[in-house]
Amino acid sequence: MADETAAKYHVGGVGLIATFVGLVVLATLSLLLSFLHWPVGDLVVSLLIALVKALLVVYFFMHLIEQPFSSHMAMLVSLIWVTLLIGLAAADVVTRHTFPVRPEPTEGQPFYVR
């Protein structure tokens, strides 16, 4: 039962404050980067920053770092499964090439008017 004897590391007040500062800095960084309108990297970079922020919250605010291995597994599994679902579903859309896209409605003809 190795997973029930995890080291009892406690997140202290300093750790919480540092985490909070880190989160605010990362959020601001993401915001500033979005003004660059970087065509390809925009989404990737902002999602990576989001991932780092989420990890900070999970590990320190939510004290996952104090938790046994099994709790880590729970988070890891959900992360992997989310990736799978999004990845494989979107992979279909990206690689479809039968008769692909719907045309855009022409100027002055919004599609929603039936």
Binding site: F99, T106, Q109, P110, F111, R114
Partner: protein, 441 residues
């Protein structure tokens, strides 16, 4: 049994497989037979092994402790089994995937036919302007590519004799190709559940030899003098900001499309979920639970606002109420539309209808998916004044709602809509199936 062909036939009969009518069918069947034989051999092997062990090691006398403690199968046996099986399955996958890609990618010289599915019928439109309902005419010995879309829900085009199936999806085009070996007739079945009459959404593929097929297409082109049946697609795409005032009948068409009336009612006499509007006005119809009623303003209005009050015999009570959803002017417009169709005769859905290729009806008829812009027919299409040209939209979206039906196939005369170039009603049924249809193999 040394002849491979007779082995093939024997196995096909044993497995109840339908005739191998397309060029791909035989190779698919061979894989099928391989897989099924492996399956049966596998389950038989496991079953026999289990039976053997039971007989050999059945319990006799008092229970003894286990004879030896070591695991009976060493890990390397498990690994070898796993790898061997995976090799087998992977091999099947490789063959299957290669066939799959061949089945999905049509040869470049294929003959294109547009397929539109709706609840619950198939419509086919050919490049030369001919079109047909329920019966698909194809040339034998030549690859045919179907470009398919649906008007309402997902259907699936399935011809067991060709071993092919592809879903027909609203809002998208999917494709399917096959090459029929010999002239003959084959079943089309809808294989994706699509509502009440899913099981009757069947049709036929009629494979003709090259000369007959040309004759079929030619007949389609020749019959310019005959009236095309009034088709049900309204001109929804052109309804935006019309500069000219609209007639009530045309407004009725628009309302019917917007409110979804046409999902259940047809304008051309085709049987569907609800009673057709063709020839409805002024008729006396039987009611469920007995009695008859004259179809007039009162009954029509009641049917829109309180559909369950008096249901026509032979139809399901499925219509929702439109109370509060229709403005009075729209109700009036719908009634005017139904009035205007009083003289339209219904057509039999099983008949091939061969419209003319007149300029006022470019790309013909509806029910036919809009052709690709590259096709000359559409480029010649003149846009009626005051309405945006359909051609300027590029490949228009398929699907029930934004159906940029080419304008002009219904001209609104002083007495309601008149199908172009022809007397409305009283005309002989447009188009008989070509005589060769009956020549079943």
């Amino acid at each position: 049994m040394n002849d491979p062909a007779s082995v093939n036939d024997w196995l096909r009969t044993m497995l109840f497989l339908p005739p191998q009518a397309s060029t791909m069918a035989e190779s698919i069947d061979h894989l099928h037979m391989l897989v099924i034989l492996t399956t049966m051999a596998g389950s038989a092997a496991v079953g026999l092994m289990a039976v053997f062990f039971v007989i050999k090691y059945r319990h006799k006398g008092p229970q003894k402790a286990e004879r030896d403690r070591a695991p009976t199968t060493p890990p390397r046996v498990e690994w070898a089994l796993a790898l061997g099986l995976f090799g087998l399955f992977f091999g099947l996958w490789v063959i299957g995937f290669m066939q799959f890609v061949r089945l999905r990618v049509a040869p470049p010289d294929s003959y294109d036919i547009y397929v539109t599915a709706k609840q619950w019928m198939w419509k086919f439109a050919y490049q030369e302007g001919a079109h047909s309902i329920t019966t698909l005419y194809v040339p034998a010995g030549r690859p045919v590519k179907l470009i398919m879309t649906s008007r309402d829900v997902i259907h699936s085009f399935y011809v067991p004799d060709f071993r092919i199936k592809e879903d027909v999806i609203p809002g998208r085009y999917t494709t399917l190709w096959f090459e029929v070996k010999e002239p003959g007739v084959h079943d089309i079945l809808c294989a994706e559940y699509c509502g009440t009459n899913h099981s009757t959404m069947r049709g036929q593929v009629v494979a003709l030899d090259a000369a007959d097929f040309a004759r079929f297409l030619g007949r389609g082109l020749d019959r310019t003098a005959t009236a095309a049946p009034f088709r049900q697609e309204p001109e929804v795409a052109t309804s935006l900001g019309p500069s000219a005032p609209m007639s009530l009948v045309r407004l009725g068409q628009q309302v019917a499309a917007q409110q979804g009336c046409l999902r259940c009612h047809t304008l051309d006499g085709t049987p569907h979920i609800g009673p057709t509007w063709a020839g409805l006005w002024g008729a006396t119809v039987p009611l469920k639970g007995g009695g008859r009623v004259l179809v007039d303003e009162a009954y029509l209005t009641e049917s829109m606002m309180d559909p369950m009050a008096r249901i026509r015999d032979g139809y399901q009570p499925v219509m929702p109420t439109y109370l509060g959803r229709l403005r009075p002017a729209e109700t009036a417009a719908l009634i005017e539309l139904i009035k205007s169709l009083a003289e339209v005769r219904g057509q039999e859905p099983m008949q091939a209808t061969l419209p003319h290729a007149d300029e006022t009806m470019p790309a013909g008829a509806i029910g036919q998916p809009p052709p690709q812009p590259a096709q000359p027919l559409l480029q010649h299409a003149p846009a009626p004044p005051g309405e945006p040209a359909a051609a300027s939209q590029g490949l228009p979206p398929p699907g029930a709602v934004v159906m940029p039906a080419p304008a002009g196939h219904v001209t609104v005369g002083p007495n309601g809509p008149v199908a172009p170039n022809g007397p409305v009603g009283g005309a002989p049924p447009p188009g008989q199936p070509p005589p060769l249809v009956e020549e079943a193999p």
